[in-house]
């Protein structure tokens, strides 16, 4: 980003540093001389002084309580699993879960309980778009390996939660799903800029 380099303002820098208490004794003498009877210098000094004061008087906010160590998740775990948290909150909960084994265990137990309930006969199992689903293996002839449009709705829903519960004896993977997850993660790495990414070509 091109930026004009301002002409050096040695006098102003001394004034700023003076206000911050960062001058050597020699520099202090220089500042006194500069301010001695020079109206322009005094005005500049006062102006800097007021600007600095305006910055220092900015209110200091309280940190939101949930960021402090005692902020466990409690009832937000359910909302997290239901995909009801908006992105920022979802992100914060995810970060907390990384760190807090208590909440992680609680999350896993809660998730297991939800699955158990959903598999009871007669229970309404209509899900929102963002709850886990097992990726079905699509029939061979219709399978596309390209990332966009090639992921079935079930796999897409699975991706959305990032936590698919299911599996069992014969896990039904979707190669599109694996490729998407890997490429997305790899895109955070420096090598991604030069090694061509895993964008597969659809079969005709």
């Amino acid at each position: 980003m091109a930026r004009l380099v301002p002409a050096s303002d040695a006098r102003g820098e001394l004034f700023s540093a003076y206000l911050d208490g960062q001058l050597t004794p020699e520099e202090l003498k220089v500042v006194s001389q500069l301010l001695d009877g020079d109206i322009g210098a005094i005005q500049e000094f006062r102006s800097l002084q007021r600007t600095r004061a305006a910055l220092r008087l900015l209110p200091e906010f309280e940190i939101p309580a949930n960021l402090l160590p005692d902020g466990h998740l409690g009832d937000r775990l359910s909302a997290y699993l239901d995909g009801e948290l908006v992105t920022m909150e979802h992100r914060r909960v995810t970060r907390h879960v990384v760190d807090c084994s208590d909440c992680r265990i609680a999350l896993q137990e809660l998730d297991r309980a939800r699955i158990a309930v959903r598999s009871l006969p007669g229970v309404d199992t209509t899900m929102t778009g963002e709850t886990p689903a097992i990726a079905a293996v699509p029939p061979r002839s219709h399978r596309k390996r390209f990332v966009a449009g090639g992921i079935g709705a079930a796999a897409a829903a699975a991706l959305l939660v990032g936590l698919v519960v299911g599996g069992g004896d014969e896990p039904a993977f979707s190669l599109d799903d694996l490729s998407t997850r890997h490429v997305a993660r790899a895109s955070a790495e420096p090598g991604f800029a030069v090694l061509p990414a895993g964008m597969e070509i659809a079969l005709p």
């Binding site: 995909g83 449009g149 990032g162």
Partner: protein
């Protein structure tokens, strides 16, 4: 047999000595990678992989802007970068990875600068990534944008393994592509512990996430190449899941392998665990990695009993 479109790509890189002052060359690979990540360009990129006599080629539209890449083919598009990806339109999946650590660049590779050259009539220069004294990657870098306009990845014998080349190049992107989309990304959930080794054949496990089928995704990198290992309990019917897979044998062990223009998938079942490896690593690295991951095999009751009886 997988048929891909095979394009004639002769004459893409004309090497000539140019006696002008070159661009400021990156001090090391990580500097260059930073520049490449921020480059702005668009065009068409040809990509291919050659492995054991199998060649898989394709061509994609690329828009590269500020760390994000938009990739399109006739089937649709995806936008990826910075640990996020979203597919197609606003209703399609969008995922995002939280990175816990910032990895320091690995010491496995060093960089050597080669001669000035041209690509698509634009001044460029060669940059070689060297591993153990041999050239692993040869890149043609566009001088003005630092974009990697051509790349060749070699296996341990110096044979070409993967290549890519911009066949059309513009220093601009479609402004619509560069818009922030305000989309909500779903975070992939990081896990505390992995069930795989922390270091595998020079690759380091950097993070683990909840993976598909109630399993895990373990992500490995050596500072340049990367792969993910997906594991879950059970045994997957990989032949039914994969298409165009080939049997692959290394050191007497049998796997299934899928080769695409940009990556390699290796699929197998270890005892009671389905495993899939997805990545862009070269063949010799892959063999070393497979030697340190769980081996394919069954773990039936007879074998267990045998082991219990006879050790």
């Amino acid at each position: 047999m997988i048929i891909r479109r095979l394009l004639v790509v002769g004459g893409l890189v004309a090497v000539s000595a140019v006696a002008t002052v070159g661009p400021a060359l990156a001090e090391d690979l990580s500097d260059y990678l930073d520049d490449a990540a921020n480059a702005i360009y668009s065009g068409q990129r040809l990509i291919g992989t050659k492995w054991d006599g199998i060649e898989s080629v394709g061509i994609v539209e690329i828009q590269h802007h500020g760390g994000m890449t938009t990739v399109g083919t006739e089937s649709g598009m995806a936008m990826v970068g910075d640990g996020r990806m979203h597919l197609g339109g606003p209703d399609e999946a969008a995922i995002s990875f939280v990175l816990e650590t910032r990895q320091e660049f690995g010491g496995r590779y060093s960089v050597s600068h080669g001669e000035a050259t041209y690509h698509l009539n634009r001044p460029a220069h060669i940059l070689e990534v060297v591993e153990d004294g041999a050239v692993r990657i040869r890149m043609v870098i566009d001088n003005s944008t630092s974009a990697p306009v051509a790349t060749k990845v070699f296996d341990a014998d110096g044979e070409l393994f993967r290549y890519s080349s911009m066949v059309d190049f513009t220093v601009a992107v479609d402004p619509a592509m560069a818009q922030t989309d305000g989309r909500e990304y779903r975070m992939m959930m990081p896990l505390g512990e992995a069930n795989l080794p922390a270091v595998v054949a020079g690759y380091r496990l950097t993070d683990v996430y909840a993976g598909p089928q109630n399993g895990q995704q373990a992500f490995y990198t050596d500072g340049l190449f990367t792969f993910s290992v997906f594991t879950t309990r059970g045994r997957a019917n990989w032949s039914a899941i994969a298409e165009g897979e080939y049997p692959y044998t290394t050191a007497g062990r049998n796997y299934l392998r899928v080769i695409t223009p940009t990556s390699v998938w290796v699929l197998w079942n270890a005892p009671a665990t389905a495993v899939a490896l997805v990545g862009d690593l070269p063949p010799d690295h892959l063999d070393e990695v497979l030697a340190e991951l769980p081996f394919p095999g069954t773990d039936n009751w007879l074998r267990r009993m045998w082991r219990n009886l006879f050790g």
